[in-house]
């Protein structure tokens, strides 16, 4: 059992090099994609 320092929960499986669980790694990816989307939208304006 590992402990994720991002979502502060125990989890089973592999942590990334920062110690994050896969749920957090995926959510960070979604956050970055959303940032790119918003930046593209604001540039269009």
């Amino acid at each position: 059992m590992n402990y994720c320092t991002k979502c502060m929960s125990n989890f089973e499986g592999k942590a990334n090099k920062e110690g994050f669980c896969s749920a957090c790694v995926d959510a960070i990816k979604r956050g970055k994609a959303q940032t790119r989307k918003l930046e593209a939208k604001s540039k269009k304006k």
């Binding site: 991002k6 979502c7 959510a27 960070i28 979604r30 956050g31 959303q34 940032t35």
Partner: protein
């Protein structure tokens, strides 16, 4: 501040005696939920009839009727679907509640699971206490969604810990009250919760998103905003009629490593709302100015609020 406590013990609930005199399902029954593999699971399984003991919250919800209680023992609950409260005057309670215990003991989690609200409710008299709520991290993720398809009166959310994982622009919000220009959350009472949220949140939704909600009271909560973004709001009040809210004795803290004065907003209130609300006794720490503490034109409903120990003046 309320002390950590065990609801079942305080109420003198003895699982083996709960069903005495029972038989047919009736009002005010108690249903138990525990995580398989825990000591509580084994204890309850041996003492509670299987009609009233479950391994998932949704399993208990399917059985519970109006005015009943679902008592949840410690563990992380990743339900496959939203916990949808359809029972009037229903209580969803963690067996152990309190500021510290809500942080680590009994978690309702969709982060990394299904992209649905953790809990929804469209009926009257719902009470929820003692949980850590970790919503799915996305722009539509939310912890508790009230009044999305019907008017919802008198929800009472207290002693919970809402944790929105800091993931940039995919940050979820904690509580959503009503939907814009539609159903009304009347007399919701949000008391003694701790909110921790980090992220950019550039789509203008608050940690508490106050859409159509009349007479809501937000009292004695702590909002920890880990962000330095202008459109990150702790409480975002939509431009709705019938606001009549009370926001008092809360603490708002803005934080970002290396930034002294943060530009995120604690209470955001569109201009056409105001004049019939009380915003009093709140304390704000770490914000870049008064406008970041209480934004927009609510001068006529201000009370005595403090920003880093100075009284906030209307503008």
């Amino acid at each position: 501040m309320i002390k950590n406590r065990n609801i079942a013990a305080d109420a003198g609930i003895e699982p083996s005696k709960v069903m005495m005199g029972g038989g047919a399902l009736g009002p005010r029954e108690i249903f138990y939920v525990a995580k398989s593999g825990t000591a509580e699971y084994a204890y309850l399984q041996a003492r509670v009839p299987e009609t009233h003991f479950f391994g998932t919250i949704n399993g208990a919800m399917a059985r519970a009727g109006d005015s009943s209680t679902v008592l949840v023992y410690p563990g992380q609950y990743k339900e496959t679907a939203t916990i949808n409260v359809t029972q009037s005057n229903f209580k969803l309670l963690a067996a152990e509640i309190g500021p510290n215990k809500a942080m680590i003991r009994t978690e309702i989690r969709q982060h990394g699971n299904a992209e649905v609200p953790c809990v929804t409710c469209n009926v009257h008299g719902f009470e929820m206490a003692g949980f850590r709520v970790t919503p799915y991290s996305s722009n539509v993720g939310t912890g508790v969604l009230l009044g999305s398809s019907a008017n919802t009166y008198g929800a009472f959310l207290h002693d919970n810990y809402f944790y929105q994982v800091e993931v940039g622009d995919a940050m979820a919000n904690a509580i959503t009250l009503g939907v814009d220009d539609s159903f009304d959350c009347d007399s919701t009472y949000i008391f003694n919760n701790h909110f921790f949220a980090g992220g950019n949140r550039t789509n203008g939704v608050g940690i508490v998103e106050w859409n159509s909600a009349t007479r809501t009271v937000i009292e004695k909560n702590t909002f920890f905003q880990y962000t330095n973004h202008t459109q990150n709001y702790a409480i975002n009040i939509y431009d709705a009629p019938g606001f009549r809210g009370q926001i008092y004795d809360n603490r708002f803290f803005a934080a970002e490593i290396g930034v002294t004065a943060k530009v995120c907003v604690a209470i955001n209130n569109p201009t056409s709302v105001g004049g019939d609300s009380m915003i009093d006794g709140n304390k704000f720490v770490g914000y870049s100015g008064d406008d970041q503490c209480i934004a927009s034109s609510i001068d006529n409903c201000l009370g005595l609020n403090y920003h880093n120990e100075d009284v906030i003046a209307g503008s």
